[in-house]
């Protein structure tokens, strides 16, 4: 009994939770750094002030759409067209937040509102795996989100001030996020049906990526592949 109360106390200790969140989130930060730097450099070349660049990273916090926005800005696009493009690029988060929602029951609305701000491809993948495999909770997940957020904002501002002086491709850092996604994908292969879904999603995503410009291939391929997986489960094909 003493042990359980002590571990429960430790579980809620803020410093301990921050440490656990940062431990889970460091691969994201590593991966964000070169991308944030590159974003800062490009945005600065497009004529934005470091303060404006940091503001976009703070308010939007969505890498690919920020790159697109900056290139549209330098091409003279209208505010409305940039905002609409951003909406389309970031619609995929609907799916990620839907998957995470089940783990955020009975969490206060204010905290879920803050949590939602930090849902990215990367934080989603890391947190979902933790939720599935350990006694992860929303506080630790929030630390993951906000640590990644900080890395993104800082790296884009650093990039704005002098990113061009940092050599590209140092130590293969550009591969950090791909390697992270590969490993998290491995964690998700929890049976033959999941492996089949992964193969279908990958094949469809590549086909759509080659056929349609933009990144809508992510949503289309994921929805189709997950539906095939769910139908197969209902019909007891490959169940294990």
């Amino acid at each position: 009994m003493v042990n359980t109360t002590e571990s429960a106390k430790e579980n809620l200790d803020t410093t301990f939770m921050c440490k656990e969140g940062i431990k889970a989130g460091w691969p994201i930060c590593l991966g964000y750094f070169p991308i944030g730097l590159a974003f800062g450099v490009l945005a600065q070349k497009a004529g934005l002030h470091p303060v404006e660049i940091g503001l976009m990273s703070l308010v939007v916090f969505a890498g690919s759409s920020q790159f697109v926005a900056v290139s549209m800005l330098s091409g003279g696009a209208s505010t409305l067209s940039i905002v609409l493009t951003t909406l389309i690029i970031n619609l995929r988060h609907l799916l990620m937040s839907s998957s995470l929602a089940g783990y955020l029951r009975s969490v206060d609305k204010i905290w879920t509102a803050l949590f939602a701000y930090g849902v990215t491809d990367e934080s989603f993948a890391v947190n979902l795996n933790r939720f599935q495999s350990s006694n992860w909770d929303w506080r630790r997940a929030l630390v993951v989100n906000q640590t990644a957020n900080l890395a993104w904002i800082v790296s884009s501002i650093v990039g704005a001030y002098g990113g061009q002086f940092i050599p590209a491709g140092t130590f293969g850092i550009d591969y950090a996020l791909i390697a992270m996604f590969l490993c998290l994908l491995v964690f998700q292969l929890r049976g033959r049906l999941y492996a089949l879904t992964a193969l279908v999603a990958g094949a469809l995503a590549v086909c759509f990526a080659l056929l349609i410009p933009g990144n809508s291939y992510i949503v289309v391929a994921s929805v189709l592949a997950a539906s095939i997986g769910a139908v197969f489960r209902r019909r007891n094909v490959f169940n294990d």
Partner: protein, 107 residues
């Protein structure tokens, strides 16, 4: 200082990015999901991860074209095996980076 038009742009982008992140959490975390929907959601993570990573590995350029010999893909094979064998996230990230760095030197 920051122009009001730019401020409007950033706020607009922030809003349309935030809404899809927030709406499902707000509505779905407070109710029991229908069984078919929960089953479908169970396949979403594996599908999304695969859909995110595969095009990065074997297609590139703008407009995109298929390229099975990209270093990203060649390095992905041993990185994937490493992840399968060790199930270590940190180890996989460092191994992947190292292999990609070496691939850049020799390819």
């Amino acid at each position: 200082m920051i122009k009001s038009e730019y401020l409007l742009l950033v706020l607009g982008m922030g809003l349309v990015t935030y809404i899809p992140r927030w709406v499902p959490i707000f509505f779905l975390s407070r109710r029991q999901l229908p069984r078919w929907f929960a089953e479908w959601l169970d396949f979403i993570p594996v599908a999304i991860l695969s859909a995110l990573v595969f095009p990065e590995l074997i297609s590139g350029g703008s407009p995109r074209y298929l390229d099975l010999l990209r270093p990203q893909f060649i390095v992905a094979v041993p990185t994937f095996v490493f992840a399968l064998k060790t199930r270590s996230l940190g180890g996989t990230v460092v191994t992947g980076m190292l292999l990609f760095w070496l691939a850049g030197k020799f390819m």
